[in-house]
Symmetry: C2
Subunit: 388 residues, 2 copies
């Protein structure tokens, strides 16, 4: 397996993009990445697209071919592949694209992620969300995606003494980061009080504990490292790409305060990269709910199990803290167009490692990690990136 | 890239499987393949699942993790990846699994395909089908998946003098083959008259020109060739795996009597395998409509453009003819559970190459080709298999 570099990044603004269709979102992100990589387009060998549920959001499957077509890539009849693993679809697309280049099969691959969620009503969007969990044995009995995460939060509070305030502070911190990101869905700071007094969704989680429903797209261009300098002076190395799965339903786990898939994927990734958690400067983690970020920073090894909440409220995960978590604003404030999210995380890491993150730049960032989760931890994807 | 063998195959009966859920179908096929490969299960490094639209058929996304979970493969937290390219989802899953083994990343990979289509009404199933085509610019204006193929048929008749009887004979031949396959949805021969007098769906195509709505699953086990003999005495070699894409909408093509994606994928596959179309003994091609088989056998190079209909009615594509096309009964008679189809084609080829196809055995078959199409030719996947 050979080394792979990211030579281009692109993304759309995240939010309620009423004036853009799904395909326009995909193309806007893809072309931005292609231009950023200084490609003319003919050099592209294949495209991978991460998307969770275009079938239900816009009644369109086959979105790999769709994006390749509308991005003008069908003249060479390049392979176009859509992959899906619910919330981890974007990270999964990146991993498949990475493997295609690492294996020597392709030299240049575009990986995109997109979702158009706001064309359906909020209730339907929430219903679609729950198809990431076990419909037959969880949701059919009344569980929602939020209520499953609420159970995790309650158990974490019970087991480790994590407080409601600590959990809420994830939202405060990520909104602060989002306020520094001109492409974030929410660019407004919020107070702890705002989170605590928000309407409940599934207690203890309220509206501000949940990532929003979003439209958006993101893309990266991958290139064999040996050819990367031809296109860019600042190639970013993919040091590791790892994936793990777990039971779909929460009730089949021995412990719901930890996502075993995250733990295993992280272990595999750190081994591949030859580094330890303490070597990571920045991380984008899957904070679809505030509690998810606390689980993530513990399961990834940045903090001991049970100490994620404390670390958060003490500012250790903010820009300028021990490790900057979700400098983009995360799913919470940047937004969570599901299929785009895993790719967008990597766009942020690359921007940070290149030193192009402007007002939210983490100084001296050299190694970054992206952590993308599908369902309630049935799929986890971890990528580690580094400056060359 | 190293050589890859198929060491195990499994499938369910195709049809209206009222007593099996989606996950049970997936597991039944997967376990059959695992047993056929003499695996205990722990050796499996990853799983790839082809599925078109579980999100809409059963309101469940994330089916890679689902199948891995219910097949008991989560103890090792192996990567589980779902891929989708409409009707080509199964072939695409095989191709991704093939790449994972050929690259040296994994030694043993299970590739499965499944679809559960009969839990929704026929009209909804037909609506879902059309999400393989361009919803925004074809189907929104009234085109159905069948009517798009009807236009192809009309044009082929106009350009090449292909007759209604020649097209209808695809169904007669495939039903005859299906009558020899105990797992086919339709195991009954039909007459030319039955096809011609059937209720019209989109003229010139009638009910018997269309593949049915089906439930079913299929799976294969892939293994690095160097380790294949450890598990089986009859490994089947994957000589080539190729993929190509084209515009999603028919109206963007310069010629609708040919699927350029099929032509290009076949060219790439024949080049990789180092053989020519005349070297192929058997082929499973994508006959979702009768006209599709005629396009396929021409585009794959088995017959000259315009001569596919004549070859069919003269028996050249029947078992015992020049090249046995769709000995399984094809999508038309074996059934077409969309995500399963591309994998099921390969299950049939392997059974034939092993000499295990019983009443429908093609004598002396040594090289087989599987051709899987998504939409109206926006994705084409071609695999070539051979005895070792």
């Amino acid at each position: 397996m050979r080394e792979v570099a990211i030579i281009g990044i692109g993304d759309t603004k995240f939010g309620e993009l009423w004036d853009l269709s799904f395909r326009e979102i995909g193309i806007q992100a893809g072309l931005a990445a292609v231009y950023d990589a200084n490609l003319s387009g003919d050099e592209i060998d294949a495209i991978y697209v991460g998307n969770m549920s275009a079938g239900r959001y816009i009644e369109q499957e086959h979105v790999g071919a769709l994006i390749a077509d509308y991005a003008g890539m069908t003249s060479n009849h390049i392979p176009a592949t859509r992959v899906e693993a619910a919330g981890a679809s974007g990270g999964l697309a990146l991993r498949q694209g990475y493997l295609a280049v690492a294996s020597g099969l392709h030299d240049i691959v575009v990986v995109g992620g997109a979702e158009k969620m706001t064309d359906v009503g909020d209730l339907k969007a929430i219903d679609i969300q729950s198809s990431a969990a076990d419909q037959q044995w969880e949701c059919a009995f009344g569980a929602t995606f939020a209520s499953l995460h609420a159970m995790i939060a309650r158990r974490h509070m019970h087991e480790y003494g994590t407080t409601r305030e600590q959990i809420a502070h994830v939202a405060v911190k990520n909104h602060k980061h989002g306020s520094l990101n001109p492409k974030a869905q929410f660019q407004k700071e919020i107070s702890l009080d705002t989170v605590l007094r928000a309407p409940p969704v599934a207690e203890p989680l309220g509206v501000f504990d949940c990532a929003p429903i979003s439209d958006g797209g993101a893309a990266v261009v991958l290139c064999a490292m040996e050819k990367a300098r031809k296109y860019t002076d600042t190639p970013i190395r993919i040091m590791a790409s790892a994936q793990a799965s777990d039971t779909l339903a929460l009730h089949h786990r021995s412990d719901i305060c930890s996502f075993e898939a995250t733990r295993v994927a992280a272990e595999r990734a750190f081994k591949q990269a030859g580094i330890e958690p303490k070597d990571v400067d920045i991380a984008e983690v899957h904070d679809n709910y505030t509690i998810s970020e606390i689980l993530a920073i513990e399961d990834l090894g940045f903090f001991k199990k049970g100490e994620g909440g404390k670390a958060t409220i003490e500012g250790e995960t903010a820009i300028g803290g021990k490790i900057a978590i979700n400098s983009s604003g995360g799913l919470k404030a940047r937004g969570d167009p599901i299929g785009a999210t895993g790719v967008a995380q990597v766009v942020e890491i690359v921007a940070q490692l290149r030193g192009e993150a402007e007002r939210r730049q983490v100084s001296g960032a050299e190694i970054g990690l992206a952590h993308n989760v599908g369902g309630t931890g049935a799929t986890a994807i971890v990528h580690i990136l580094g400056v060359v």
